[in-house]
């Protein structure tokens, strides 16, 4: 039983950056812009957060810098795919490569520690919050997994609720969805399509910024080359998995994180009936499970209709 809660605990930790990135992708893709650049946005944010938090000795400054960096990359993606009607897939792939190349180059030039930044002190990081009330409740084990997390984790929970409100219940959300479904209709209704898309990109950048900052400020304490390690793509997969809906995408992330947590605990242990299976296979479980779920239980994913198509004013 105890181990079950520790799995839950791990699930929440691992899912947090995925959730943030998936919601970031949701804004972008709902506005009609394919977002393969999630990875790059996150990586740039992680780097900026690490640098600034180190120099200013403040995690909040790091978080702000991370968000700013995420927005910068997002706007670049925006200029290319909204401003110049460029191919959004290429733009995403290219930006990922650029960030993956640029960050270690800068890190080397600034800190002379190879492609990494100096390790942050505690003062420059977000630590777990120990809520006084929590201790009392935490005595009852089942709730334990929900407490003692990093402040960014709780922030992410707020973000999920905010996002689902914004997307479905707000003016901006209505326009966002309209622009992603039928930009020509939105345009005819007097909406500035490009502006909405730029805004969506910026939000996507900011959320990726938090995700990237989380990796550094909450988890590793330093920037390391390519440290996002494919999380952006995984988040995108979760988004598609969740059919571009906030809560479903979040559950996709939780599923990934959960299988991952289980996977870690299964390694090296003997399984009943099957016996010992190689670690490599256990590590593949989350991926196989995704494919099986996509093939078996999910219907056809219906993407926002205008996704990937630049908005050009003519039929």
């Amino acid at each position: 039983m105890d181990s079950f809660f520790s799995v839950l605990d791990a699930t929440i930790r691992v899912a947090t950056p995925l959730v943030l990135a998936a919601l970031a992708g949701l804004f972008s893709e709902r506005s009609g812009i394919v977002d393969l650049a999630l990875e790059g946005k996150m990586l740039a944010a992680a780097f900026a957060a690490a640098c600034v938090a180190y120099m200013m000795q403040s995690p909040w400054a790091g978080l702000a810098a991370g968000m700013a960096a995420g927005v910068m990359v997002a706007l670049l993606h925006g200029i290319v795919s909204i401003g110049y009607n460029g191919n959004q897939l290429i733009s995403g792939v290219a930006l990922n490569m650029m960030v993956s190349g640029l960050t270690p180059v800068l890190a080397l030039a600034w800190f002379q520690q190879g492609g990494r930044t100096p390790t942050l002190d505690d003062a420059a990081r977000f630590r777990s919050v120990e809520l006084p009330v929590a201790d009392a409740i935490a005595a009852s084990a089942p709730l334990k997994a929900l407490f003692g997390h990093n402040i960014l984790v709780y922030l992410a929970v707020l973000v999920i609720m905010a996002v689902s409100w914004v997307v479905y219940k707000s003016r901006f959300g209505l326009r966002l969805r309209a622009v992603g479904e039928n930009p020509h209709a939105a345009d005819a209704a007097g909406i500035n399509v490009k502006l909405v898309r730029y805004l969506a990109q910026s939000i996507s950048g900011a959320l990726c910024g938090v995700a990237g900052a989380y990796l550094v400020l909450a988890q590793t304490g330093a920037f390391i080359q390519d440290m996002t390690a494919g999380k952006g793509y995984l988040a995108l997969a979760a988004l598609i998995f969740g059919k571009w809906r906030p809560w479903a995408a979040v559950s996709g992330c939780l599923l990934f994180a959960f299988t991952d947590a289980i996977q870690i605990r299964l390694q090296g242990s003997e399984l009943p009936l099957i016996g010992s299976i190689p670690d490599a296979f256990i590590q593949a479980i989350p991926y196989v499970l995704t494919v099986v779920l996509l093939a078996g239980f999910m219907g056809r994913a219906v993407a926002p209709k205008a996704i990937g198509v630049p908005f050009v004013k003519s039929r």
């Binding site: 605990d9 791990a10 990796l215 304490g221 390519d226 390694q267």
Partner: protein, 303 residues
């Protein structure tokens, strides 16, 4: 260097340190190159060889094949491979007895652990990493028969050596299972492991270079793999004309591997621990304790 990059805070960086030390000591310059893919290995070696350098040191076991090929083409140039045995009349190979160093830190872990559960986190599931893990397990068991060793590998791609977030997660999962000392052999990923140890108020063990200073008070010790010494020695030998082809095995006895005690972890190592480990060290050097090498039989005596 291998693909992981020069500044990985462990393996490759140690080689760099050794070369720098040689440069400082002798004033002789050296050239360096880092490769980005398989085909470039031979190319780089050939390129270096053609420039009339005296001695080429290839760092990393993945170079073995390339060195053998190129060494045959340039019989006058001296070659050295770190971490694997390569054949050739002008090739020197340096292999380490990682298991011996791992044994010592394993003992430290076994004694320092209160829960009698210690952890190992490797990068990719390859024989070299298994050798680390195996030596460590033997050491931990030697310290205390009841100690349980939990092992995790990070991933299946070379990215497994560069994913600190995952390293941290693996460490946390081990702590959740009661582990209180964890040893990593996972390059950049290990940063996350040590960080997690600190965050959770547990102990980590560094690898390759001395990583005690990274999180003072939370790194129990580091298993040293003196690639720097090896590189330095090779260069020196080349300079002093004492260089010889063949396989050099660097174990505890030869100063190739060791454990690290310094100001940063002094407090963590009790008198008793230090005494026992020093004794074991002596016994290994003397051949009284034989640490099994996983690679010799592709199996490990302890689980």
């Amino acid at each position: 260097y291998d693909q992981a990059g020069k500044f990985d805070k462990s393996f490759n960086e140690a080689a760099y340190t050794g070369a720098e030390r040689f440069k400082k000591a002798t004033g002789i310059a050296y050239r360096e190159a880092q490769i980005a893919n398989e085909a470039q290995k031979e190319q780089v070696l050939r390129n270096l060889a053609r420039r009339n350098v005296d001695l080429i040191v290839a760092v990393g076991f993945s170079f073995t094949q390339a060195v053998q090929t190129v060494a045959a083409e340039f019989p006058k140039v001296k070659f050295a491979v770190v971490d694997d045995a390569a054949k050739g009349a002008n090739v020197q190979s340096i292999v380490f007895k990682e298991q011996e160093g791992s044994y010592l830190v394993g003992m430290a872990a076994g004694m320092a652990s209160k829960s009698k559960k210690v952890g190992f986190i490797g990068g990719m599931d390859v024989p070299l990493i298994r050798a680390f893990g195996c030596g460590y397990a033997q050491g931990a068991r030697a310290a205390d028969k009841k100690v349980e060793v939990i092992t995790n590998m990070t991933g299946t791609t070379p990215q497994a050596f560069n994913d600190p977030a995952r390293g941290g997660e693996l460490a946390r999962s081990q702590f959740d299972r009661g582990v209180d000392v964890v040893f990593h052999a996972a390059g950049g990923t290990g940063m996350g492991v040590l960080q997690a140890a600190k965050d959770k108020n547990k102990l980590g063990i560094g690898v390759d270079s001395n990583q005690n200073h990274l999180f003072p008070g939370f790194v129990l010790t580091s298993m040293l793999k003196r690639v720097d010494n090896a590189v330095y020695d090779i260069f020196m030998a080349g300079k002093n004309n004492t260089w010889k082809p063949g396989i050099v095995t660097m174990g505890l006895k030869e100063g190739g591997v060791d454990w690290a005690v310094d100001a940063n972890n002094r407090k963590l190592i009790s008198k008793d621990m230090e005494a026992r480990i020093t004794q074991a060290r002596k016994d290994i050097v003397a051949g009284k304790i034989k640490v099994v090498d996983y690679r010799a039989g592709n199996s490990c005596p302890v689980q």
